[in-house]
Amino acid sequence: MDEKLLELVDVSKKFDITEALKDINLYIRRNEFVTLLGPSGCGKTTILRIIGGFEQPTTGKVLFEGQDITSLPPYKRKVNTVFQRYALFPHMDVFENIAFGLNIKKIPNDEIEKKVKKMLELVNLSGYEERTIDSLSGGQQQRVAIARALVNEPDVLLLDEPLAALDLKLRKGMQIELKNMQQSLGITFVYVTHDQEEALTMSDTVVVMNDGVIQQIGSPEDIYNEPRNVFVADFIGESNILDGIMIKDYLVEFGGQKFNCVDKGFGENRPVDVVIRPEDVKIVGEEDGMLTGRVKSVIFKGVHYEMLVESQDYTWMIHSTLMEPVGKMIGLNILPDDIHIMAKGRRSHE
């Protein structure tokens, strides 16, 4: 598990004058499910295209099992891609699409037939061999695209927002199926998405990106619980981000109150960003709260209520399963564990 299968070393990419990627250093282990997560235009697809061989990095190297493959054309790489809009061959039927890669490798016909059949079973499309591509639904085309890539038994499967075009329910189902496939086949997945929930659900490792720079690499839990900067905190889930002052180790002041926290090493009386998740703000009676505020709005979100609470100098977003009426004064408490301190000026670079 610790073996580095694929590695990007100091990779940067310029399109004309715009810098799409800046000094990307990233390695992917065998059998890992890595997700590149970020807003559109952050460079995540460019990384995928560099791994696939469709773009050349302006500087830097791509290593595969330690070998430099930077200038290797796509058809020589042991990597297959599931494209964003599937890119199925419209002039071929389902069988021919899936068999395309095997045919090129000159594998005997009976073996091709066996493999394609097995793949179709895997993606729940048995019996669809002779269907034309335009007679398939979006979800089915998506499965054909996955089967077409997987049948070649690649070492790495690249997926470029493969579920973006599907409706919510289908997307949830496919997330689980993809994860299962990845585990049962033992293939390394590199998955690109802008959907933070998708990233957290499926990945072993999440790479959060913004403006062509890697913001944080870590497990979904790390990324969610210990965001390294304000961008990550804001992008992964929702956050209350306040200006605060780190008075000394384990003590921070914000909203006019001093709070115990678990962070240290910022120095004394330093301005910091304080990040608190909406579900970590506890609602108590007005007189019991360290902070007080007035409920401004309440929205029912299904599992919880989303409330905006106006305190002295900040409007809090709070998720709670209990509803408080609009206009009521309430108290707010935050546990030391739930206060995340970030140094100022680390918003995008680090």
Partner: protein
Amino acid sequence: MNRKSIIAYPYVIWMVLFIVVPILLVFYYGFTVDTGAGAKFSLENFRRFFEPVYLMVLLRSFALAALSTFICLLLGYPLAMILASKDFERKNIMLLLLIVPMWMNFLLRTYAWLTLLEKKGIINSLLSALNLPTINIIYTTKAVVLGMVYNFLPFMVLPIYTVLSKIDKSVIEAAQDLGANSLTTFKKVIFPLSLPGVISGITMVFMPAVTTFVISRLLGGGHYKLIGNLIEQQFLSVYDWNFGSAISIIMMIVILISMGILSKYEEVREGGGLL
């Protein structure tokens, strides 16, 4: 009857006057002979066409048109590919160069070749000035084919270009991703996907090439007879409208059959063409 159909009336009248009536007249003349005492139904005109002299003309027309179409395809496909490639910066200038000659009169363009190719024409003057051997292709098959290719090449390039530039780039990347090198990608993906354009191109070159009489008369000299010249002759010099009409009908049938075969093939391959 609603208002929409009223708007269509001018077109219906136009069609009846200039398409239906002429075709009916052609059929009338084709299936009758002039006996002096009036017209009489007869298949004589058609029987006459199957004499070897005329069949040879038909065969020659088809052979020349097929050859020209083939050369157009050989020249046009790579040109269309260059035009369709994204990195080609001077694309608009090239497209313009391709289209501008089409703005000029067809006759004028063909006459221009006459001056170029003549025994003491521009090309030969240049060649002899450079002490090179002169070429002598005017009034030969070569000149006719050259004229056809020159005149009809844009009709081959444009439909292929249109289809090629519409091919989703990610489909090509998918082929490469699955292990296909450039040649295999072309054979298995790009060419099959461009077939509707190729078929449109073939149709648009072959049809005018097989019926042309101007090119063969100007560049082939008087002695080079194609089916178009034969028909023209029947109407304008021999005044045998009946035989001319019969040949026209036969051409119509032959063209309809070949268009039918082509469009059948196109249907299988899906995509829009001109038929």
